[in-house]
């Protein structure tokens, strides 16, 4: 029978903040869900199945919270799945939700991903001290900073590239009313002047810790006819490798390269830089923009920073990246991947508002997690795929 066409007709997200003290976990999710359903012109009663995603349960101190949330999310009486693939989970969750439609099993699927990080302390929840294990001595950014140093060494990139990314994303966020950080007046110079936290990563080059949620309505071809601007799914991919393995490439992980190659093939793309109009990429530390540009095959290895330096990743450039402000401007971890996927959909639907890329027809949504070992990606387009 083969894959059935599937499209995103509803995208919703919360206003992301350091603390959303005004809502419960259910309230946070419903804020995103209700916006997605409004966008899709559907109600909870129209939904066939619900897929929930979030990162570790220790963040909120609830084991499998989708169980207690089931009724508030409108899932009672329906199938409900809970995905957890570390930081890539928002993307994986969207992919699982789309597969329910692509498999021909359901017609209208709601998916929601969230994190309410203010309920605990993200750094604690991510690395609970265990017996025998040496305590983490480097802090949150300490895991990734050495790999950024390796990238700089391998690519010979100038050291201000990360600041270019940070300034771009923070300014993009000013156009996104939902973004957590609205830091007016961020410039390359101001980023370079911010405190060096985990050398070579500066304060302004790191993501915030946010409360937030994102929801998508993914439907079959028939239902999509009701939407004036469906975002069609052209390809979805998940790939995993180990956190640590002998001679694992931690700068340009094979799982990411393999995933991208499979994704472009599925989407019928032979030259991603020419054929993708914009991309929402999971960049929690600024340097990951050039690293992922290369990993995704937009440029040759070692050349990603040149695309960033040339300004081509800004809105209006050849490949705008993170028009929404990206993870650098909002980071509810469990939802961050779905926000990338959702923002990609908004772009090809022409519904991204102030941060819309003119004429965007095909967009990439990307997420990664763990020690850069879990990857989830999709390509969405304004036209129904022909393959």
């Amino acid at each position: 029978m083969g894959k059935q066409p599937a499209a995103i007709i509803g995208v919703g997200q919360t206003h992301h903040r350091a603390q959303r003290k005004d809502v419960s976990m259910a309230g946070l999710c419903r804020e995103a869900i209700d916006r997605a359903l409004l966008d899709a012109n559907l109600t909870l009663d129209d939904i066939d199945a619900i897929v929930v995603g979030k990162a570790p349960d220790l963040f909120e101190g609830v084991m499998m919270p989708e169980l207690f949330l089931a009724e508030a999310l409108g899932a009672a009486g329906k199938p409900l799945l809970r995905v957890h693939t570390a930081g890539s989970v928002g993307g994986s969750t969207a992919i699982v939700a789309s597969s329910l439609v692509q498999a021909g099993v359901h017609k209208r699927v709601l998916t929601v991903a969230y994190e309410k990080q203010s309920e605990s302390n993200a750094m604690w929840a991510l690395s609970v001290p265990l017996p025998f294990n040496m305590p983490v001595h480097a802090g949150a950014g300490g895991y990734f900073a050495p790999h950024v140093r390796s990238y700089i060494r391998r690519s010979q990139a100038p050291t201000h590239i990360g600041a270019i990314v940070a300034a771009k994303d923070r300014n993009n966020a000013l156009k996104n009313p939902y973004a957590h950080l609205h830091n007016e007046g961020t410039t390359v110079e101001s980023v370079l002047a911010s405190q060096m936290l985990w050398d070579p990563i500066r304060y302004d080059e790191t993501c915030p810790s946010s409360d937030g949620a994102c929801a998508l309505v993914i439907v079959d071809e028939d239902t999509a006819k009701s939407s004036p601007n469906p975002a069609w799914i052209h390809g979805t991919v998940m790939r995993s490798e180990a956190t640590t393995a002998a001679e694992r490439d931690q700068v340009n992980p094979q799982a990411g390269r393999d995933a991208a190659a499979a994704l472009w093939k599925q989407a019928g793309i032979t030259n991603p830089l020419e054929e993708i109009d914009c991309a929402e990429i999971y960049v929690p530390f600024s340097w990951f923009e050039p690293m992922w540009i290369e990993n995704l095959g937009f440029t040759a290895e070692g050349d990603g920073w040149k695309l960033t330096e040339s300004g081509e990743t800004a809105i209006g450039g050849k490949l705008p990246i993170n028009m929404s402000g990206g993870v650098l401007s909002s980071n509810p971890i469990g939802a961050s991947g779905m926000l990338r996927f959702g923002e990609a959909a908004l772009q090809v639907r022409g519904a991204a508002g102030e941060h819309q890329v003119d004429g965007a027809r095909r967009a990439l949504g990307h997420a990664y997690g763990g020690g850069a070992q879990f990857f989830a990606m999709w390509v969405v387009g304004s036209e129904k795929p022909t393959n």
């Binding site: 603390q19 959303r20 003290k21 005004d22 809502v23 419960s24 259910a26 309230g27 419903r30 109600t43 909870l44 009663d45 220790l58 909120e60 101190g61 009724e71 409108g74 009672a76 309410k116 203010s118 309920e119 605990s120 750094m123 604690w124 265990l130 017996p131 025998f132 294990n133 040496m134 305590p135 983490v136 001595h137 480097a138 802090g139 950014g141 300490g142 900073a145 050495p146 790999h147 950024v148 140093r149 390796s150 060494r153 391998r154 405190q195 060096m196 936290l197 985990w198 050398d199 990563i201 490798e241 180990a242 640590t244 393995a245 002998a246 001679e247 694992r248 490439d249 931690q250 700068v251």
Partner: protein, 319 residues
């Protein structure tokens, strides 16, 4: 000697929950010594109120004060209470439908034996003297003798709406290391760094692994590793954070021990942070032997050997 190293660990955090308006309304009521239910679209009064209506899916907005006296609709005996339950002696959990409500609320019932409980019995809320807007503002239910009235709650200390609640989640586990990790930690306790070779891909792993991540084969042949190695990459930690043991700035580095095929993350001391380089040769500096345990912390840090740096080509495949 047991097959694996084991030790207790407690995973604990005081979660700061924002309640939202509906749960907040219920907890505000408890703080004031009142039980508040929510009315659903079908007219049912539910305690605690549902955040969203099961039929219309709209947020609950109609709240109803119910009695603090009610009827047991089901119960169970708790012969061996677990930590943080309302009592540390045997008690009952009960579902109690309060007068004015249509569905029951779950809480503890203070009785000394199962013989004192029955479905249909009348009970009342026993209020905590000091109430903060928490489910434990209700200490428990207690049997209500015929003719007895509801217990009155002492006055509340505050009249601000409850918007948050702190819930302590503290779990005790017996943590066990894998047999391969146990070999590694036992070695450290003897001043040795033990690795194992994967029989399939021949790579030497430190610590050894229950499954080589490349091919899924347990690492096997024991290899004692050199105490010297090469810094592959690193970062300089400038930021203070919770639980930090060393004053910044200091260097956290991947050290590829001679003979190993994977680097270990450790501290670099004995050299100013801004003089640490990729390729720098370092050696393990151990703590005094009387401080050793089953831990990589027995190695206090790595320090420069003073030897010439390793060539980039010798370690670039480990980045």
């Amino acid at each position: 000697m047991s097959r694996t190293l084991q030790a207790p660990v407690t995973v604990a955090f005081d979660y700061t929950r924002s309640t939202g308006p509906v749960v907040g309304r219920f907890l505000t009521g408890l703080r004031d010594g009142i039980v508040v239910g929510g009315r659903t679209s079908t007219g049912q009064v539910v305690v605690p109120p549902l955040e969203f209506d099961p039929v219309t899916h709209e947020a609950t907005t109609e709240f109803v004060e119910v009695s603090s006296v009610g009827t047991v609709t089901s119960w169970t005996w708790v012969p061996e209470p677990v930590k943080h339950q309302p009592f540390d002696r045997p008690f009952a959990f009960a579902l109690v439908t309060l007068d004015g409500a249509d569905v029951p609320l779950l809480h503890a019932l203070d009785v000394s034996s199962p013989a004192e409980v029955s479905t249909g019995m009348r009970v009342r809320v026993r209020w905590a003297a000091e109430r903060v807007g928490h489910i434990n503002d209700i200490l428990c239910f207690e049997p209500l003798a015929p003719g007895e009235a509801a217990a009155t709650a002492p006055a509340a200390a505050s009249d601000e709406a409850v918007e948050g609640v702190i819930t302590t989640v503290s779990l005790d586990y017996d943590y066990a290391a894998s047999p391969e990790e146990s070999l590694f930690y036992r070695g450290l306790n003897e001043g040795r760094i033990m690795g194992q070779r994967c029989p399939t891909c021949q790579k030497v792993y430190v610590p050894p692994r229950s499954a080589c991540p490349a091919d899924g084969t347990p690492t096997a042949e024991e290899v004692e590793l050199s105490q010297t190695g090469t810094i592959t990459t690193f970062c300089i930690v400038n930021v203070p954070f919770l639980g930090q043991k060393i004053t910044p700035p200091y260097v956290s580095a991947y050290v590829l021990l001679d003979g190993a095929d994977i680097a270990v993350l450790h501290l670099i001391l004995g050299v100013p942070a801004d003089e640490v380089r990729m390729g720098m040769r370092v050696k393990a500096v151990w703590k005094p032997e009387d401080e050793w345990a089953y831990s990589l912390e027995n190695i206090d840090h790595f320090a420069p050997t003073g030897d010439p740096d390793a060539d980039f080509d010798t370690y670039k495949q480990h980045l």
